[in-house]
Amino acid sequence: MLHFVNKFIAKLLVSAGLLSVLISVHAASIVPNLSAISDSDVRNSAIAFVNTTTLPGLEGATINVDTDDRSSEQLRSSLGFSAEFTLKKHIFNGYWGLAIVGGSLDDRIDVIADTGEQVKLDIRRDVIGLRGSLGLSFPVDQYFKLRPFISLGMADLRTITNFDGLPITDASGETETLTTFDTSAYMGSATATLDAAYSRWFNDNRLEVSAQYNLRNTELISGDNSVLNTTAWSQTAMLKARYSGATSLVTDGRPWRWLAYASHTNFLSFDKASLGYTGLFEIGAGMEWNVNIKPLDWFGWQSIGLSFGVITSRNVEGYSFGLTAR
């Protein structure tokens, strides 16, 4: 199965409770009088941002947070594919995938310093990386497959942070109330994934249900900020159901199908304060065109489609629009 996700656009309204977390990588180690932000918060925030952008199985999204004391927008997108390849003389097939992933965060937060000043943080984060996956696909029967695979990823994380309103004295003895930090870090990750996929046809309609579990080890290395030199384990579970059916539409001799889907993603090991949510629900619909080509004669690319979805959860509301390929 070919998998190709370009970009979703989503708007998510998130409740309060994020204040101490989505914060610059520099804050804990360099900025004085900001004890509300601990080293652990900084690490968790960075790990959560990187992981929610680069984990296998996650699709693009734009997340807007709008509360009394914060306004932010997080974007993530990916371009890639995954496919099976035949291992002759074996029941199991091989499974591989490649993806370019990227994301950004624009975050504006009001926070009170220990000394009572009202501080405005303006944080810009960018991450871009590569991910490669390799594994096996075990067909249990015609309808059910188990796919264990390993993904290795590397990414570059850059953060630019403005502290406005917090007096900071630099090495030369000058005190400024507007300070900018520019930091970078490298991320390496190894993710073990187990994907269980079931599909069944009912006349011209097809039901697909999949469950995916990810166990990831993330290593952050920063020459700018020792706080970020850390390793963390995280777990994610995803469930998705998809139903599609035939239409009378045909383009260039290839038929269109309608589709509807529902999904749930649960960031099992993330603290709610890290992201403002630990789970996302999405329900949507779209159309897909059965192109059925074989790039480089390597693997089958069956369809390309557009979908529109609504995202909701206890603390999240929004919508999404995306381009998908299988």
Partner: protein, 140 residues
């Protein structure tokens, strides 16, 4: 220098993997390739094969899709056209396997056209103790 080397390697990989035109045994032959073993052609059992030359005209082939609980022996019967390549693969369609016309579009990709379902698949269930325990037929 390094970038040139990387581009050179990538270029060689892409050129080396360009979609090749199929070669046929003769003017009156078609070609079939399968991701899964072909075990029978026109009623005659053969040694497992993944690529065969077929005489033009009506052909019947049996191809096995193996899984851990069952084997699916799928029978395809169709009019093979001389000079046409066919491909059988698993695309999680209604049947375990689907027969397509394989057509080279250009150097970068091929197209799968005119899907044909098998006329039926005999399901052979596995049993750890006795080997095969049951036969069922999925009708077309």
């Amino acid at each position: 220098m390094n970038m040139r080397f990387i581009i050179y390697i990538l270029g060689m990989l892409i050129l080396g993997s360009c979609v090749q035109a199929p070669s046929f045994k003769g003017d009156e032959y078609a070609l079939i390739s399968s991701n899964y073993p072909i075990i029978s052609v026109n009623g005659t059992a053969i040694e497992e094969s993944y690529k065969l030359d077929l005489a033009a005209g009506e052909n019947t082939v049996v191809i096995v899709y193996h899984t851990y609980s069952k084997d699916y022996h799928c029978t395809f019967t169709w009019q093979a056209v001389a000079g046409i390549a066919y491909e059988v693969t698993d695309q999680e369609n209604r049947y375990p396997l689907t027969l397509y016309q394989w057509q080279r579009k250009n150097r970068l990709w091929a197209m799968r056209l005119d899907p044909v379902d098998p006329s039926g698949c005999t399901v052979v269930e596995h049993d750890d103790n006795a080997g095969l325990i049951q036969h069922q037929v999925m009708s077309g």
